[in-house]
């Protein structure tokens, strides 16, 4: 186990190095880097929402709110107050995590659709607070944020998010979260402190959403409240569900495919969203569990299974 973990890290570092070399050698131009950063931000968002929605089963559609906190707090730190980016990033993440805590607690009483609308409401309230605050530019938002995020930041950000969340999920704490999703009453009867694990999911999820927000703010030069409305939360939710709730690999692949699809369709702007939504509907109808729903990809790669299955998605 230990070994596999480190092999995984090593391989991803090689990937990092190759891309970095391509960037340094100017083989990958800025547009590819933009796309990679956007992918990275989306992956962090989706993977962190997956912890709340997919693994713990708490229906949250306020993720854009957490993201905005990371973006705004980090941008205030760097642009308005002149602190360094790492400090801004850290503060952004922590502020988002605190928001996760604040939102996590009162909404614990709520379930399903009621939780969903409450989280949506919280997300909108956060957005309205930014909108009505002239210190952060109101509707115009904060502009002129220096570009600090680069391939290295985003790569290690994704790596940390994925590793931390995978490490939580593949442990007794992750099993506790999944048991809450599967059957809250039984989980509680088995000694699981349901409240604690729900709050942990919200806090960790919010932390990384904040990180994604900080990265994106420090790459795309500016932030504004409209970027964090409920449509953004839906967008993140779509990444997660399309890829497969409760599957980290699925979430990552779903995010990549959707982001790419969206990029690709730029060719035909007027039909872009039509095709996007058609694909979304059709995927849900023909693969209701998502592209990799409930499929633990690692299983295919265990000894024996790998060569034959080659990555197709059959039920384990």
């Amino acid at each position: 186990m230990n070994k596999r973990f480190f092999i995984g890290i090593a391989i991803s570092l090689v990937f990092y190095g190759v891309v970095q070399a391509l960037i340094s050698g100017e083989i990958l131009n800025d547009f590819y880097i933009d796309t990679l950063v956007m992918l990275g931000v989306n992956i962090i968002l989706a993977v962190s929402l997956n912890l709340i929605n997919g693994f713990t089963g708490q229906f949250s559609i306020g993720h854009a709110g957490f993201m905005s906190i990371g973006a705004y707090v980090s941008a205030i730190m760097t642009t308005n107050l002149g602190y360094s980016f790492p400090l801004g990033l850290l503060c952004g993440c922590l502020a988002a995590a605190v928001a996760g805590l604040i939102i996590g607690f009162p909404t614990l009483r709520l379930k399903g659709d009621y939780l969903a609308i409450a989280t949506l409401g919280f997300g909108e309230i956060i957005r309205i607070v930014w909108l009505n605050n002239d210190y952060v530019g109101g509707a115009a938002g904060l502009n002129g944020i220096e570009r600090v995020t680069n391939w290295s930041w985003i790569f290690f950000g994704v790596l940390v998010a994925v590793v931390v969340i995978q490490n939580i999920v593949k442990s007794t704490h992750g099993r506790a979260m999944i048991s809450v999703r599967e059957n809250e009453i039984a989980a509680e009867a088995m000694g699981i402190n349901v409240t604690k694990y729900k709050v942990i999911a919200f806090v960790v999820g919010a932390f990384f959403a904040g990180m994604a927000g900080a990265f994106s703010a420090h790459y795309f030069y500016g932030i504004a409240p409209t970027s964090y409305n409920f449509m953004k939360s839906f967008e993140i939710l779509v990444f997660v569900v399309l890829g497969g709730l409760g599957s980290t690999a699925g979430t990552i692949i779903g995010t990549i495919l959707l982001t790419l699809l969206f990029t690709y369709l730029q060719d035909i702007p007027e039909w872009r969203m039509v095709i996007y939504s058609m694909i979304l509907i059709l995927t849900m109808i023909f693969r209701p569990k998502g592209l990799l729903g409930n499929v633990d990809v690692t299983k295919f790669f265990k000894k024996g299974g790998a060569s034959k299955n080659g990555g197709t998605t059959t039920t384990p």
Binding site: L110, G121, V238, I281
Partner: protein, 295 residues
């Protein structure tokens, strides 16, 4: 703040609230039967409004426009259910929800492609008259019509669901789909009927909305849809009188916040905060039964 001022604002609040309630009725109806937050509801609403736009341009009056819009939307609702939701009847709720979001995006963007993104003015088809109640307090005919239509439709729905055969079937399906099927109820037909009624309501709301606020555009359903959803949840989603109360409450709260000097920017913030507070103390909305999961 005079008494007249407060009464006038109350009228404003009830008038906007009754629009929310009218949209929320369809939302809550569909939710009550198949527990689906039909995010496409706001977009069926936009289709209804556009249908009304074309019929009105063609010179048809209010009643005909309403009937045609309701028919078009009922058909649209049934088609959406048949094509997008029915294949997913046994899938996880969140999957159907994402599909609903997909349908919503699809309708909006098909609208943009075919009708253009620009808002269009809605023709005047109702002669609006304003009545002065006393002093400065006024109410206009459209506000009255909307309120009356909403209350009447709510009563009719309540009657249909609780007193008719199809209503009984709906309640049975809502309670236990499998058992209803075993009892010989045609579940598919019942759900289709639910969508037809719910979508017809959205269509009616769309036309009325476009008359009251005379413009139509493909994204016009997004905000009213969200507000109506909030109203439905506030009242207890799935409960028909809850939609009315939730809608009116939301309308009055919003108006109340805006009637205070300088508070208008916090309208939606306060509305959402109240929603969350109500949910925390009454997790299933004002009228929602606190259903305990049977252990």
């Amino acid at each position: 703040m005079t008494f007249d001022y407060i009464v006038q604002q109350l009228i404003n609040g009830i008038s906007i609230g009754s629009i929310y309630a009218l949209i929320a009725l369809g939302y809550t109806m569909v939710y009550g039967i198949i527990k689906l937050i039909n995010f496409a509801h706001g977009d069926v609403f936009f289709v209804g409004a556009y249908t009304g736009y074309f019929t009105a341009k063609a010179g048809l009056g209010l009643i005909l426009s309403l009937i045609i819009a309701m028919a078009v939307c009922a058909l649209l609702g049934v088609i959406i259910e048949r094509l997008a939701y029915r294949p997913l009847r046994n899938a996880a709720r969140i999957v159907i929800l994402i599909t609903a979001i997909g349908v919503s995006f699809l309708l909006e963007n098909l609208g943009i492609v075919t009708l253009g993104a620009q808002a269009q003015g809605f023709p005047d088809i109702v002669n609006k008259s304003t009545y002065t109640l006393w002093g400065d307090v006024t109410i206009d005919s459209i506000q009255l019509i909307v309120l009356v239509v909403t209350v009447v439709l709510m009563a009719v729905l309540q009657y249909v669901v609780h007193r008719t055969k199809i209503g009984k079937a709906m309640r049975a399906v809502s309670f236990d789909m499998e058992a209803a099927r075993l009892m010989g109820i045609n579940v598919d037909t019942t759900i289709s009927a639910t969508f037809a009624i719910g979508s017809a309501l959205a269509g009616a709301a769309g036309v009325v909305f476009a008359i009251m606020y005379p413009s139509v555009d493909p994204l016009m359903g997004v905000i009213p849809g969200l507000k109506a959803f909030v109203a439905a949840v506030l009242g207890g989603i799935g409960i028909i009188p809850g939609a009315l109360v939730g809608g009116l409450l939301l309308g009055v709260v919003e108006t109340g916040v805006q009637s205070i000097p300088g508070m208008s920017l916090w309208r939606d913030g306060v509305a959402f905060a109240i929603l969350i507070l109500i949910l925390i103390f009454k997790p299933t909305g004002l009228f929602g039964k606190n259903v305990r999961e049977k252990v």
